[in-house]
């Protein structure tokens, strides 16, 4: 029997725990990707070794479809693994995790297809692949080269599994809401459909743009105050907050193409400054 959604997560937890990873819980803030978690961004900086795995809920307001699209969600989960320095056998370790969740590489077609990763809001980039399983992208596999505008030395290897996609694949369902969440008959629909409908309505129709703009400005200002106080972690949290406000404003369609670059630039400046402060506070620059 194929893994339920929650068993998929538990299996990955066990697997990566056995590889020496710290198993963390999701960061308690709204963010667009698991990469934003400080356990990835801040820990990728400096010389210290680090291994962690965690699930991160991701909110992408513009991807919401009121629960009507079988493949798109405004809120979904990523499974994130970071290993620093990236081990020599990282690909093999990763493939081991696929076998663990029931994907037989001699029966399925697993491929590493070029996909360079870049996050303009984090001032980060890396090289790697999207991993395909029978033509479906199931994981983003990246060797970080820069974060917050700083060179990563040593390099962090980052694996980002798209949990819903992977589960749909393993369970053989065509609609994300048909996923069995556990083995007791609870489906993804039971857990999340109402959330998708309400959050789509909120993000696209209801969210008060003035409040959002205001929150963006306040988060930015607060970030700067934290930087002055030499507190990189709270500063970084405010950058994450500003980033999410920007994403929601995008969904409300109130940011023009011309302004878009300026907002991204603003978030990047905040994130970079927080990274710089982190490096400073940790004494990595010396």
């Amino acid at each position: 029997m194929s893994l339920s959604f929650q068993d998929l997560i538990l299996t990955l937890h066990h697997y990566w725990s056995a590889q020496g990873c710290v198993i963390l819980q999701p960061y308690d803030m709204e963010m667009g990707a698991g990469t934003f978690h400080p356990a990835t961004v801040l820990r990728a900086l400096g010389p210290d070794a680090w291994k962690a795995a965690y699930v991160q809920p991701c909110r992408r307001p513009t991807d919401g479809r009121y629960g009507e699209n079988p493949n798109r969600l405004g809120h979904y989960y990523q499974y994130q693994v970071v290993l620093k320095p990236s081990p020599q056998k990282l690909q093999d370790l990763y493939l081991g995790s696929l076998v663990e969740i029931g994907i037989d590489p001699l029966k399925h077609d697993i491929r590493f297809v070029e996909d360079d990763w870049e996050s303009p809001t984090l001032g980060a980039w890396g090289l790697g692949w999207e991993v395909w399983c029978d033509g479906m992208e199931v994981t983003q596999f990246t060797y970080f080269q820069q974060v917050g505008g700083f060179e990563c030395r040593p390099v962090t290897g980052e694996l980002t599994y798209g949990l819903e996609r992977l589960a749909m694949y393993i369970q053989g369902v065509d609609n994300v809401f048909d996923l069995k969440f556990n083995d007791e008959g609870v489906t993804y629909r039971d857990v999340f459909l109402e959330n998708e409908v309400e959050m789509s309505t909120y993000n696209f129709e209801v969210a008060d743009t003035e409040t959002l703009f205001d929150s963006f400005r306040k988060a930015a200002a607060e970030c700067e105050r934290c930087l002055e106080a030499k507190l990189p972690i709270p500063a970084y949290e405010q950058a994450i907050k500003a980033s999410h406000m920007f994403n929601t404003l995008q969904a409300r369609g109130v940011i023009s193409v011309a302004e878009r670059q300026a907002y991204i630039g603003r978030v990047r400046d905040l994130a970079k400054a927080a990274c710089a402060e982190w490096i400073d506070v940790k004494g990595y620059a010396a």
Partner: protein, 715 residues
């Protein structure tokens, strides 16, 4: 002599980088060993997603030993000289040879073993490899396209010891990632390819490409279909697989409602699938994917997985298509005022306005003939409307194509739908031509107007491509237009929108820049068509030519002419005449006090008649200029007579755009000019004769130059 094998094993190399990497590897290796003086036979390279392989045949055992003799000071020279020499050569006094009182240093350079040379070359290659993008990994500092995992380097049957950033060469590699993950020991260049084949790796990309090409065709054929061939996709898939297995799958035929281009593009770009056609050449509800594994179930699970991925993508595409169908393009076009074309050039709606105006002008002025103005207007107004559709949002490369489909489905005429579809390319249907040319010229002129010209390798707005495409449209459709006039029109359109005067908008400065830009593009474009750039220069430098159809007719006649014996010979005579005139610093008939005689430096290019505007003097001067006055030798007279005939003939032919006729008129000068050079001494002792003959040569040169500036022609 022995064969050498190199395998650089790494994590998956992007498919698009592999061909260049093979070439770079072969080149760098050949250069590296040649620089050290090591001889090798043929060098072959191969690549898979995980390896770069080089096999060099018949590598010499060592470089040749060399003996060099350096002459030093005399043995009687002061000791400082000797010391200096010893320092320079690194020898001692006893090691020098003395011959006839002179000291010599004999430097013996023993041959270096091949393995040393190769090891050094490989270290250098790995350190400097020109990957388009490279990265670091782990704690190392080496850069490679993706983490480098191993080096196999075997010369004959010996490992060539190499160490790069902690990676040591060995005879061990791995096979297929899943079929044969364990280590394989390689004997050398001779067993490498077959050993890997036994471990499910086909090392040679050409062989994999063949397997994919033939396998995909066979899979389609077996299903009663025809493969839509796509060589780029063959190469890409060969770069993604070590053991390619083409598999055919089917998708729900309901999706075929979606425009064919969308389905093919989704399959091709997103999934790297081949499309299939049925017996009517319609798109079939099938795909061929290329797996990298000989699956234990024969590929059933792989096909099913791929089918589901494709279904999800096509469902997305269909959703957008159905949404877009509901909104008339005319409605969509209204939203174009929300899209910034460029911050200094207004919105796309502004651009549409300019394009419509310019397209109308092209028709009204007769450049594009025989079209219904209202259809041109309609096409121009709708051409950009698909930019706000969901479909183009998802598939930007389908701009135009989507608009064409929507227009047709929404009841626009085929002429309008075709114009929308084709206006990004180089069309031939008149309405499409008017819209397409107007669009491109507007883009080019608008960006030149705000001083955003391409420079060096930078061309962010793809103006060069737009210019090449415009030239194609003009030439292929034989459009007669003055480019300067159109450019001024396009610039004035934009000036009007920002309520600037033409002068403030820099019209006089910008229009000539645009013509020059087009002239450069024309040379590039025509070079590819086999037209010599020097001949284009020869016509351009006559000045004032901005009708490319006429210009190319002239160039083409010129090219035919200079390739004939008459033409080649006349060119030689022309150059001889021009050289004599240059050497004599002859600036034409000396009647009046010329700037030269007043001491003003002359370049020799001046119009000899520039000072002659007195009507009374005109005839006299003309006679002198013709070189006629007092001609005594028959060859002089013959040349004069020939020029008298040829000049008006050539002029009339040029006016009538009969450039072949103009060349024929020039050809008639060949014999007389050759005879002139054979029998007439230009530098006669008699200054009057000398002057007359130089004037005659000037006349000959100028007559030729009026057809084309022969001084620009090479050879």
């Amino acid at each position: 002599m022995a064969d050498f094998l190199l395998e650089l094993l790494c994590e998956e190399i992007p498919a698009r980088m592999q061909a260049k990497a093979r070439n770079d590897l072969a080149r760098l290796f050949a250069e590296g060993v040649a620089a050290a003086g090591l001889e090798t036979g043929a060098i072959d390279t191969h690549s898979t997603p995980r390896r770069l392989v080089l096999i060099a045949r018949e590598v010499a055992d060592a470089t040749e030993a060399a003996r060099e003799e350096i002459k030093g000071p005399r043995s009687a020279a002061p000791p400082q000289a000797l010391e200096g020499f010893l320092r320079k050569t690194g020898l001692t006094r006893e090691q020098l040879e003395e011959r006839d009182g002179v000291l010599f240093a004999i430097l013996e350079r023993p041959g270096r073993p091949a393995a040393d040379v190769i090891a050094e070359a490989i270290r250098q290659i790995v350190a400097d490899f020109p990957w388009p993008k490279s990265m670091r990994w782990g704690s190392g500092s080496l850069r490679w396209v993706r983490p480098l995992q191993g080096i196999v380097a075997i010369l004959g049957d010996e490992i060539v010891p190499i160490e790069v950033d902690g990676i040591r060469s060995s005879a061990t590699t791995v096979g297929h990632r899943f079929h044969h993950p364990g280590p394989i020991t390689i004997g050398g260049a001779d067993d490498y390819i077959e050993k890997l084949r036994a471990c499910h790796v086909i090392v040679d990309q050409d062989e994999r490409e063949r397997l994919i090409r033939e396998g995909a065709q066979a899979a389609a054929k077996e299903a009663g279909l025809i493969l839509l061939e796509d060589e780029a996709l063959v190469v890409e898939n060969a770069g993604l697989t070590e053991w390619p297995m083409p598999l055919l799958g089917r998708f729900d035929p309901d999706f075929l409602d979606v425009p064919r281009e969308v389905i093919v593009l989704t399959m091709r770009t997103n999934q790297k699938y081949f499309a299939c056609l049925d017996e009517n050449a319609d798109l079939a509800a099938a795909f061929v994917c290329v797996a990298n594994v000989a699956a234990s179930d024969g590929g059933a699970a792989i096909v099913e997985g791929n089918r589901r991925v494709l279904a999800a993508r096509l469902a997305d595409a269909r959703f957008f298509w159905e949404q877009d169908l509901k909104v008339p393009l005319e409605e969509q076009a209204k939203k174009l005022d929300q899209i910034v074309f460029h911050e200094k050039l207004g919105t796309v709606a502004d651009k549409v306005e300019r394009v419509a105006k310019l397209a109308r002008w092209l028709v009204e002025s007769g450049v594009v003939a025989g079209v219904d103005l209202s259809q041109v207007e309609r096409s121009a107004r709708l051409a950009k409307a698909d930019l706000v559709t969901g479909m183009v949002g998802e598939f930007p490369e389908l701009q135009g194509i989507i608009g064409g489909h929507l227009a047709r489905a929404q009841g626009e005429s085929n002429t309008v739908a075709d114009a929308i579809r084709d206006h990004y390319g180089a069309p031939t249907a008149p309405v499409s031509v008017a819209v397409s040319l107007a669009d491109k010229l507007d883009t080019i002129c608008a960006f030149f107007g705000i001083d955003q010209k391409p420079t060096g390798s930078k061309d962010p707005f793809a103006l060069r491509r737009a210019a090449i495409s415009s030239i194609e449209i003009i030439v292929r459709n034989g459009l007669r237009l003055s480019l300067t006039e159109v450019a001024r029109g396009a610039l004035a359109n934009r000036a009007g929108q920002v309520r600037e005067s033409d002068a403030a908008h820099g019209l006089d400065k910008t229009a000539p820049e645009i013509l020059e830009f087009f002239a450069d593009r024309l040379k590039v474009q025509q070079r590819d068509a086999g037209v010599r750039h020097d001949l284009i220069d020869a016509v351009f430098s006559l000045g004032g030519e901005d009708d490319f159809v006429r210009l190319l007719a002239r160039v083409s006649a010129l090219q035919s002419f200079v390739e004939t014996e008459d033409g080649a010979d006349l060119l030689t005579a022309y150059k001889r005449a021009a050289n004599i005139l240059k050497k004599e610093n002859w600036s034409g008939p000396q009647v009046l006090s010329s700037p030269a005689s007043q001491g003003i430096p002359q370049t020799g290019e001046e119009d000899p008649l520039v000072l002659v505007d007195d009507p009374i003097l005109k005839d006299a001067v003309a006679e002198i200029a013709s070189g006629q006055a007092g001609a005594d030798l028959p060859e002089e007279k013959a040349l004069i007579a020939a020029l008298d005939l040829a000049e008006p003939k050539a002029a009339a032919a040029v006016d009538a755009e009969d450039f072949t006729g103009a060349m024929a008129a020039l050809a008639s000068l060949r014999r007389p000019i050759d005879d002139f050079f054979d029998h007439v001494t230009v530098n006669d002792a008699d200054p009057a004769k000398r002057e007359r003959r130089l004037n005659l040569l000037t006349r000959f040169r100028d007559a030729v130059n009026r057809v084309a500036d022969f001084s620009k022609i090479e050879g």
